[in-house]
């Protein structure tokens, strides 16, 4: 087994046994990136020098045997909307092409304290707006399972990097499915924690009431290790919640006897690829065989989730992205005569098409005369969607659904039609609106060898149940061990 193929847990065991050093592990992964990334284009920047410094620092800690955490010496890739001091952070946007943050995001501080090794920054849809990573201002990332297809988005670079062993694990961000959907398309594990579980300080804001940072990993226990390291209250993010952070790996046990799993009938509706539906149904049957109780449930407002989500997210985005004005950092249009012209041309030249669309629609939804009809209406529907989940969780412990209606689509297939692209987010966006936590785990492959994911959803701050169910299912299947042939 090559070192870059190791999971977090396997690598950690070998580091602790002194079978390998972090230096060897990091060099192995960097070599893998050099070899494979010219085909995949997952990374926007590889911070090789920083990675080697951190690896040597980690080896010192490991040699001394003190201050060792589960991530000490583990190479991790970071989505390019998470600030790391001194490492260029672009959000895959031309407007931030030369932005180098003067500070660390709180999750990066946690990773540094843990002694993790930061490999570099991964490609994404510009400002996390998209479902295919095709909206990147810099490059198209390819799906390691089929190079003609998209890796999903917006954390497509992180998912592709983990799937092709160009990182032991990665961080992404999820506003409407941006961790779970690429995880599903690339056959890795992707977790969106409960809103408020992980600090958003230093995560470049898109939809502040929806955004959450989470792990993309090779298996469930690795996701538990990473979440345990990055979760927790942060005075710098007043929406982070002050609750103790357990060791989430302690919930990774094969016990789902009696667990009540709700299956929402609205999630197996028209537009669903029958192959995907079959694989997800088989996964649910597997959990039933293992002793879980399957309960038919209804989330009646599901069909309104896309409109509700996009209005909320675009409104928040239009406000959040007002900061890109060409004055403080980032790109500035040359040769302008006055300040309004400077703002307007900077933003017109710096933002891509989808970002402009969302700023326009969000501004419209918040503007005088339309605020009640669009924005307030969406906030009321958001209440109804949240209630759907609250009602469901009175009857069940967990909800099982598909992640997406189809497997990964072809590059170019949906990019010309924004609305069709939005509609592919149907199964992932509701829980961001409701704040719940959710995980995507591999549940098989289509006849065309494309990965399919199973989504498990738990009530707020019940990541423990999520890990229990996800781990039990994963251990009963071989899917997470299958690797793409690159």
């Amino acid at each position: 087994m090559k070192v870059y193929e190791l999971s977090v847990k396997e690598a950690r065991d070998r580091l602790l046994q002194r079978e390998i050093s972090s230096r060897e592990l990091t060099l192995g992964v960097l070599e893998r990136i050099r070899e494979i990334d010219p085909k995949i284009h997952a990374y926007l920047e590889v911070s090789e020098e920083l990675a080697m410094e951190q690896a040597e620092e980690a080896d010192k800690r490991l040699a001394k045997g003190d201050n060792i955490s589960p991530l000490t010496g583990i190479p991790i890739a970071i989505k390019d909307n998470i600030c790391a001091k001194g490492v260029r952070t672009t959000c895959a946007s031309r407007i931030l092409e030369n932005f180098t943050p003067p500070y660390d995001a709180t999750v990066i501080s946690h990773l540094k304290q843990a002694g993790a090794v930061i490999l570099g920054k991964t490609n994404m849809d510009e400002f996390a707006m998209g479902s295919s990573t095709e909206n990147s201002g810099f490059q198209i990332t390819r799906n390691p399972w089929n190079l003609e297809r998209i890796p999903g988005g917006s954390s497509g670079g992180s998912a592709a990097a983990v799937a092709s062993d160009m990182a032991i694990c990665a961080l992404g961000s999820d506003t409407g499915g941006s961790i779970r959907q690429p995880a599903s398309y690339c056959s890795v594990v992707g977790l969106k924690p409960t809103y408020g579980r992980v600090s958003r300080y230093g995560l470049v804001a898109y939809g502040s009431s929806l955004d959450q940072i989470g792990p993309l990993t090779k298996n469930v226990i690795d996701a538990a290790i990473v979440l345990s390291a990055i979760a927790g209250h942060d005075p710098r993010d007043s929406t982070s919640v002050n609750k103790p952070v357990p060791d989430y790996t302690s919930y990774c046990r094969e016990e789902i006897e009696g667990l009540r799993i709700g299956v929402p009938r609205e999630y197996f509706a028209e537009g669903m690829d029958p192959e995907v539906a079959n694989l997800v149904h088989s996964a649910i049957r597997r959990m039933e065989e293992m002793g879980a109780e399957i309960v038919d449930i209804s989330l009646p407002h599901t069909q309104y989730a896309i409109a509700c989500y996009y209005i909320c997210a675009m409104a928040e985005a239009s406000s959040n992205l007002a900061r890109y004005d060409g004055a403080h950092y980032g790109y500035r249009a040359p040769d302008t005569d006055n300040i309004i012209e400077m703002y307007s041309k900077t933003r017109a030249q710096g933002f891509g098409a989808e970002v402009k669309r969302r700023i326009m629609l969000g501004t419209y939804a918040l503007s005088a005369g339309y605020y009640d009809a669009y924005y307030l209406k969406a906030l009321r529907v958001r209440t109804l969607i949240k209630r759907d989940f609250e009602n469901a969780f009175e009857k069940v412990d967990i909800v099982a659904t598909p992640v997406t209606p189809t497997a990964a689509f072809k590059i170019g297939e949906k990019i010309t039609d924004p609305l069709t692209m939005y509609l592919s987010d149907i199964y992932t966006i509701s829980l961001n609106l409701a704040g719940m936590c959710g995980i995507s785990i591999p549940c098989g492959f289509t006849g065309g060898s494309l990965p399919v994911g199973l989504q498990l959803i738990a009530n707020i701050f019940q990541e423990d149940i999520l890990f229990r169910a996800a781990y039990a299912y994963e251990q009963s299947t071989p899917h997470h061990k299958r690797k793409p042939d690159i």
Partner: protein, 112 residues
């Protein structure tokens, strides 16, 4: 060119189509410079998306409260204690233009 416009605003969402004048108004509010071609493209695409958004009108939301934040949380207060923050040098490090330890921008106030 950048003076405020008063496009005809329709208030009902069923007529929520957006015309060229409104696109220009929203672009001004958004501080986005649009070409004639951009305006045409935005008018087509935004109308399609807004028409889809109108689906929410099928729901009666009379008396339903708003959710702007998914986790129950009210104002979060902290003690007013000064903590270290960025130095002026760090804060200015990414500035497109700077002078005398300040961000430099084009003229804001026209001379009378």
């Amino acid at each position: 060119m950048m003076t405020a416009m008063n496009p005809r605003m329709s208030t009902s969402m069923s007529e929520g189509r957006i015309n060229r004048l409104e696109i220009q108004h929203v672009a001004l509010l958004s501080r986005l410079h649009l070409t004639e071609e951009d305006i045409t493209e935005h008018t087509v695409i935004l109308n399609r998306i807004l028409e889809y958004f109108a689906k929410l009108n099928e729901l009666d939301t009379e008396g339903v409260s708003c959710t702007s934040h998914s986790i129950n949380m009210n104002n979060v207060f902290r003690e007013d204690v000064a903590t270290p923050s960025l130095t002026a040098e760090d804060a200015l490090a990414n500035a497109p233009e700077k002078e005398l330890n300040c961000f430099k921008v084009p003229q804001i106030i026209q001379e009378g």
